[in-house]
Symmetry: C2
Subunit: 330 residues, 2 copies
C-alpha cells in the first residue's frame, strides 16, 4: 500500500494537516519542520493521492477533449492528432490531465456524463459536437470550441485558423507568380470553413476577374472529373486553388491526362498540408496552419476560463503559405 499523508506525518513527528500545508506551499512553515517533512516524504516515496485531493477541493484536475467519430477517419486524424498533442502539452504544464472522449453517436451521453459526473473541469469540443442544445444543457461550464462554429457565433469561446485570410494569401501568391485566371475547386459549401475560404478567394480576386467555383466530393476521382471539365472548357483557368489535398490530387491527375504541365501552364495551391502534400509530383504549394499553436491556444483559453472565469473569446490564427513546385512558375 502506498504511503499516505498520515504516514508522512507520523514519520516526521508532526500533524498531518501540517504536511498538507507543506504540500500546498502557501502557508508559512518553519524551515526545520519543512525539512523533516520533506525527508519523510522522500523516505516513504510519498505521492499525494490526486483522487482524494480532487474530492477535497471539488475539482477533477482534468479537461476533456471530445472527438467527432467522423474525424477519426482518414486525413482528419492528422489535423486532430497534432492539435491533441499540443493540448496535452499545455495541459501537462498546468498540471491538468487530458481525457479524450468520443463524441460519436452517443455523443450527448458521453460528453454530458463527463461534465455531470465531474470528471472534467473543462471541455474542448469540435464544432460538429458543439450543438446549441448541448451547450445550453451544460450551462456556463468552461468550454472552448476547436474551430469556428458554423451556426452563428454562438455564446462560446473558439479558436480557429483564418480561412478567409488563407485563401487571400493563396490568390495573391498566384497572381504574384503570374497566373491570371484563378479558380476554386472542391469542398462542400454547406460547411462553414469552405464558405469562408471561398469568401477570401473572392475578396482577393482582381476586380475584373470572374470567380470560377466548382465544388465536389472530397476524393481524388471526383476532383479529377471536375478538374478535367474545368480545364478543357473554353475559358479554362491557369491556376486552381484547391479546398483540400484530395482535390489537389485530383487536379494533378486531370492535368496529367490533359497533358497540361504543372506549374508552367497550371498553378496549384491547396489548403491543408498533410504529409501527403509534399510528396506528390509536383510537390504541392500549401496553405498551412500551425496546428500545434492552435491546440496550445485552445487549451490556454480553456484554462483561463476554468481558473479565472474570463469572458468568452474568439481567436483566429493566420495561415502561412508553403511554397512548393506546383505553383513555382519561373
Amino acid at each position: 500500500m502506498a504511503a499516505t499523508i498520515h504516514d508522512v506525518a507520523k514519520l516526521a513527528g508532526v500533524h498531518y494537516s501540517t504536511v498538507s500545508r507543506v504540500q500546498n506551499g502557501k502557508a508559512k512553515i518553519t524551515q526545520e519542520t519543512k525539512e523533516k517533512i520533506y525527508s519523510a516524504m522522500k523516505q516513504l516515496d510519498y505521492h499525494p493521492n490526486s483522487v482524494a485531493r480532487n474530492l477535497a477541493n471539488g475539482l477533477s484536475g482534468a479537461i476533456g477533449v471530445v472527438v467527432d467519430a467522423k474525424d477519426a477517419e482518414a486525413f482528419s486524424n492528422v489535423f486532430f492528432s497534432r492539435s491533441l498533442f499540443a493540448i496535452e502539452r499545455a495541459a501537462q504544464l498546468r498540471g491538468y490531465n487530458v481525457i479524450i472522449a468520443n463524441g460519436g453517436s452517443h455523443s450527448g451521453n458521453a460528453v454530458e456524463s463527463l461534465v455531470l459526473q465531474k470528471k472534467v473541469d473543462g471541455l474542448i469540443l469540435p464544432p460538429s459536437t458543439a450543438k446549441p442544445a448541448l451547450i445550453q444543457k451544460i450551462g456556463d461550464f468552461p468550454l472552448v470550441i476547436l474551430g469556428q462554429p458554423d451556426t452563428g457565433r454562438l455564446c462560446a469561446s473558439w479558436v480557429d485558423n483564418n480561412n478567409e485570410q488563407g485563401a487571400e494569401l493563396a490568390v495573391e501568391h498566384l497572381y504574384l507568380k503570374g497566373y491570371e485566371k484563378i479558380a476554386y475547386l472542391g469542398g462542400d459549401r454547406k460547411l462553414g470553413f469552405v464558405e469562408r475560404r471561398i469568401k477570401g478567394y473572392l475578396n482577393a480576386l482582381r476586380k475584373d476577374a470572374p470567380g470560377i467555383i466548382v465544388t465536389c466530393e472530397s476524393v481524388p476521382e471526383q476532383a479529377c472529373l471536375a478538374g478535367m471539365s474545368m480545364l478543357s472548357s473554353k475559358d479554362a483557368p491557369d491556376a486552381i486553388l484547391c479546398n483540400d489535398n484530395m482535390a489537389a490530387l485530383g487536379v494533378i491527375q486531370a492535368a496529367r491526362k490533359l497533358n497540361i504541365p504543372i506549374p508552367q501552364q497550371l498553378g496549384i495551391v491547396t489548403f491543408d498540408n498533410y504529409p501527403l502534400a509534399e510528396f506528390t509530383d509536383p510537390a504541392l504549394t500549401a496553405i498551412d496552419i500551425d496546428t500545434s499553436l492552435l491546440g496550445e491556444q485552445t487549451a490556454n483559453l480553456l484554462f483561463q476560463r476554468i481558473e479565472r472565469k474570463t469572458t468568452n473569446q474568439q481567436i483566429l490564427l493566420s495561415a502561412v503559405l508553403l511554397q512548393r513546385d506546383s505553383s513555382d512558375r519561373k
Copy 2:
C-alpha cells in the same frame, strides 16, 4: 450546486445509504423504495460524483495511454490515432476514461506520477517508453505494451501485428504475380520490427534466391537513391518489398527516373497503409494491419489485467495484403 446522494435520499424519504445501494445494483431493495429513489434522482437530475466514488473504492476509473513524443510527428500519427480511437471506444464500453500522456522528455515523471498519484488504474505504453527501469519501478501495475518490445520479451503483456507473417505474405504475393527476384528496401535494422520484417522476407524467399537487403533513412530522397543504385546494378531485382510508404515513394521516383515501368518490369509492395498509399501513381499494394483491432485488443487485455489480475499475455495480429496497381502485373 449539483444534487448529491443526500439530496436524493431526503427527497425520497430514505437514508442515503439506501440510495447508494440502488446505484450499485447489487443489494435487494423493495420495488417501492426503488421507484421512489429513481423518481427522486430524475427529479433532481442526479449524477453520482465520480471523484468521490473513486476515492471510496480506491480506483480512478481511468486508463492512461502514453504517447512517445517522437510519434507525434508525421506519419506515425495515423497509426497512433486509429489505435487510440479504438482504445477509447473499448474503454467507454467498460466505463473507463482514457487519459493521454506524453511520454516525451519528461516521460518518467509524467507516466510515473500518473500511476503514483493514482490517476489511472492501468497503462498502455509504446515500446519506446516501456523501458525495464520504468516497468520495474511501477511494479506489477497493470500494463500493456502497444507493440512488441525490442529488448527481449520483458515481463509484460503486449499486442502487436505480425510483421514476420506480413513480410511472408508480401513475398508470396510477388512470387504469385510472377516476380522472381525480390529485394527488401528501407528501415533501420536496429529497430525490432524491421528486423522481424526482414526475417519474414528471408523466410519466404525461394531456397536458391539470394536476399537483397538495403536499409536507408525513411525519407523518399534516400530511398530513391538506394533504389536507383539497386535497380541499375547488374542483378537488379524485379520486385521490391518496401519497409514503409516513404521508401515506396522513393522507389517509385527511382523507377520513373530509370524509365522502368511499374508494375510491368518492377513490382512494389509496401508495409503500412497510410492514406498516402492509395493515392500514389501507381497506387501501392500494401501490407495493412487492423489498427482498430489492435487498439481494441490492447485495451481489452489491459482491462483483463485490471479486473481479474490475469497473467501476462502476448498477442500477434495477422496482417493482410491490399492489392493495388503497383504489383498487379497481368
